[in-house]
């Protein structure tokens, strides 16, 4: 029941905000006073429950990179080589999905 849908904040007015769900505009409730136009947020049951931290998007891929690096090193790969390998692979993933 807790589906959260990403949306972009268009304007805020106290505890209300207008958000854009990829074309459909809706009025929603705001919990956090620091929410501002332009923010990417998650909306659940007509309420902005949190802000998507865009810096953290990279960190999710990094989590994967860390696992991969550890495992390569464990397999006997030299740490520098493993690091290079991980970087290349992530760059490839990003390149592949450039126009997402």
């Amino acid at each position: 029941m807790c589906w959260g849908v990403p949306a972009k904040v268009l304007e805020t007015d106290g505890v209300m905000a207008k958000v854009d769900f990829g074309g459909s505009i809706k009025d929603v409730l705001v919990i956090n006073t620091d929410i501002k136009p332009g923010d990417l947020v998650i909306v659940h049951a007509g309420t902005i429950i949190g802000k998507i931290e865009e810096e953290e998007l990279d960190n999710t891929l990094k989590l994967y990179g860390d696992l991969l690096r550890d495992s390569l090193i464990e397999d006997g790969m030299d740490p520098d080589e493993a690091e290079k390998n991980v970087r290349e692979w992530i760059r490839y993933l990003l390149g592949e999905n450039r126009d997402g």
Partner: protein
């Protein structure tokens, strides 16, 4: 690198190569665990959306046979006691408008009220019922229909994720006179604690790791999961909802088991903070307080529900209509005698263990609550049943 949300979602949803690489990591950790003598790893999720992703994308069929993913109490619809629905039916037939989430509209009761065993049946009998997406929509609808509608009750189902959507309007005096909240809000960590101890008490294979709910944790943070993880000495990862989020979280859990680490890590970093959403929690606890609350088919769990505080009783449906909550001393299990929802919800049984599954009980004619909500474990299994993916999964689990 800078990644946009669309890019990340695309990578985590569609990139088969990435999914495969994470799958390889999972296999590697599993081999390591087997070498250490652990040849069964049980990982429990506490979120209906995670179960949906798991089944929809066939995650179980991607995992080595040693890894078992079980669904815990993950959907607030499934665990709402029958008594509350019965009260809502009664009110609707007395002319009080009931607002309800679509998910709960077909929720079956154990006892019929004036011939109706669900709100949808009550509507057919002339009950006043309106399906809405949110409390905010109900407020709007009630305002627009003032005059025609005098009194209305919102069936306030939900976990921590949904609680702020009630707390913000109540705290800010946005709720019009005549609209009341029937709070059936429930809290996830106490139920997780309960489910984990039930597994131990019943002498079942212990749970080795937890996938914690992403959106509940957006509100409460990762900290409460840290406490539970340390209590049961198992790792927890707060996960996002794309298939690769889930695979990555499983890999992280397995790695932590290999390293004998308890505690919590966050995979869903893009939205979950360790301390949660403090302003949301403030709203919640300014408006509500915790009480020992009942869970459908399970009974009472301490500090697992939210009730309106005294200063907000003007919005309280219990007070206005003299509704009594179920009582501990007189609690009887509120399920059809053959329905195994309580065990399904606690991760003790799978839907296919229920003799009614896809026979007497189907999404069209649900006999138990887990078959109703889109995210109820039985409904998820049923909806993808009869087809390739579910058969594959079932076969890989050795079920069919």
């Amino acid at each position: 690198m800078t990644l946009s949300l669309q890019q990340l979602i695309k990578i985590f949803r569609d990139n088969i190569e990435l999914a495969n690489r994470v799958k390889n990591l999972i296999e590697k950790y599993t081999e390591k665990l087997v070498r250490k003598g652990l040849d069964r790893v049980k990982i429990m999720n506490f979120c209906g959306t995670h179960e949906w992703t798991t089944v929809h994308y066939g995650i179980r069929s991607l995992l080595p046979p040693e890894i078992e993913l079980v669904a815990g109490p993950g959907c607030p619809v499934c665990i709402t006691p029958s008594k509350y629905i019965e009260e809502a039916i009664r009110l609707s037939l007395e002319g009080v408008l009931i607002y309800v989430f679509g998910d709960a509209y077909k929720l079956p009761t154990v006892t019929k009220v004036n011939g109706a065993a669900s709100l949808s049946e009550a509507k057919a009998l002339g009950g006043e019922i309106e399906i809405v997406y949110s409390f905010l929509d109900a407020i709007k609808h009630f305002r627009e229909n003032k005059g025609r509608v005098n009194e209305a009750v919102f069936l306030g189902i939900g976990f921590e994720t949904t609680a702020p959507s009630y707390a913000v309007p109540i705290f800010n005096n946005m709720v019009p006179e005549g609209l009341y909240l029937l709070s059936v809000l429930r809290l996830t960590p106490p139920a997780a604690d309960y489910a984990l101890s039930a597994v131990i008490e019943r002498g079942l294979e212990p749970v080795n790791g937890i996938v914690a709910p992403g959106h509940v944790s957006t509100i409460i943070g990762a900290a409460p999961w840290d406490e539970i993880s340390r209590k049961y000495k198992i790792p927890t990862v707060v996960s996002g909802f794309e298939p690769t989020d889930l695979l990555l979280s499983i890999a992280m859990i397995l790695k932590m088991i290999c390293e004998e680490k308890a505690g919590v890590e966050v995979e869903y970093k893009r939205i979950v903070r360790y301390t949660g959403n403090q302003q949301a929690l403030e709203y919640m606890y300014n408006v509500f307080y915790k009480h020992e609350a009942s869970w459908r088919g399970i009974g009472f769990i301490p500090d697992s529900g939210l009730k309106l505080r005294d200063e907000h009783l003007g919005y309280d449906a219990y007070t206005r209509f003299g509704i009594k909550e179920p009582e501990k001393d007189s609690w009887v299990d509120d399920l059809h005698p053959s329905c195994k929802c309580a065990e399904v919800v606690l991760g003790l049984k799978k839907p296919v263990d229920c003799s009614l599954f896809l026979k007497a009980c189907t999404p069209e004619r649900p006999m138990g609550p887990c078959m109703v909500s889109l995210e109820g474990t039985c409904a998820v299994w049923a909806r993808f049943g009869g087809g390739g993916k579910a058969d594959e999964i079932a076969k890989s689990l050795g079920l069919w």
